[in-house]
Symmetry: C2
């Protein structure tokens, strides 16, 4: 379906994003990326100035919340449930959540991720909710559910895509939005 006459630079960016965001900066080598892209191993330094340069470039592809399209909190809950449910269903898709968890403790990557997360996700969410405290709690439960389901594979979390899973997510999201300030 998708035509793929990507430039070398685009291919490196795509595979770099996928591998970095899923497996973590330290666990991915430059040769992993260039190998997946089918190009020479020297081209990462060529195009992006090095491994870290490519990683920084992938961060600019971080999803942002479309604030304008969300009228009220009830719509926000629906939207978050939908986004989150879809993201969790397929384990091979890099998301903001996998990016953060995979690089949470990396000495080089973590500061960059934290900065990008704050500017491109947390700030819009806080603006949407009119509260940094509520935005923080929403992010907390979102990440927590992802860790429980994808990282720890807890049996108590229902399978993503099912109504029972959506009920769990929606319940805890609603509770987060009713947190004490």
């Amino acid at each position: 379906m998708d035509a793929k006459p990507l430039t070398t630079r685009e291919a490196l960016l795509a595979h770099g994003k996928r591998l970095f965001w899923l497996n973590g900066y330290a666990n991915v080598s430059v040769r992993d990326i260039t190998g997946a892209a089918g190009v020479d191993g020297a081209l990462v330094s060529r195009y992006f100035g090095g491994k870290l340069g490519l990683f920084k470039e992938t961060l600019s592809q971080m999803d942002t919340l479309d604030i304008a399209g969300i009228p009220d909190r009830e719509a926000l809950i629906s939207e978050l449930v939908r986004i989150f449910d879809e993201a969790e269903r397929s384990p091979d898709v890099p998301t903001v959540i996998t990016l953060t968890l995979a690089n949470a403790r990396d000495p080089e990557a973590a500061p960059l991720v934290k900065e990008a997360m704050d500017a491109r996700w947390q700030k819009p969410l806080a603006e949407l909710l009119g509260s940094e405290a509520l935005a923080a709690m929403v992010t907390a439960v979102t990440f927590g559910m992802s860790v429980a389901e994808k990282t720890l594979c807890l049996e108590g979390i229902h399978r993503p895509g099912t109504p029972a899973y959506r009920a769990q997510i929606e319940h805890i999201l609603r509770a987060a939005l009713e947190s004490p300030e």
Copy 2:
């Protein structure tokens, strides 16, 4: 204060636990550990059969819940709030949470962590609550709050140790315990 006539093996185990659990398996080299312990770099392979062997050994030091000492759910909430609040206050203490987050995506360490977490934390918690679903939700919000506070440093999360922080934790923990099964 603390006398420190540790054996070499004990010293390697202690520094290995601290570094592995805080920084992640991939981000810690054998020489980091032996250097911190002040011993020769070859002794990790000597005593533990290799880097991975030492890591496995540290997993046996994972905290477990003292089920016998907790009479009801209200006491559980208090205990979880207390444990969690204390753990969050000092960033340099390795905990179950830092261990999991630091090794969430490591191809070698993650399976071992997942297995140990399930046997030594999740199972006791589920038994205590009489529900895998509730135990999973409790773990989810616990980890989520830790990510929000320690990894992302969200301003909306209050400082650990304050009453406002304990209120946030207690509120979301209570909500997790009222999740739909």
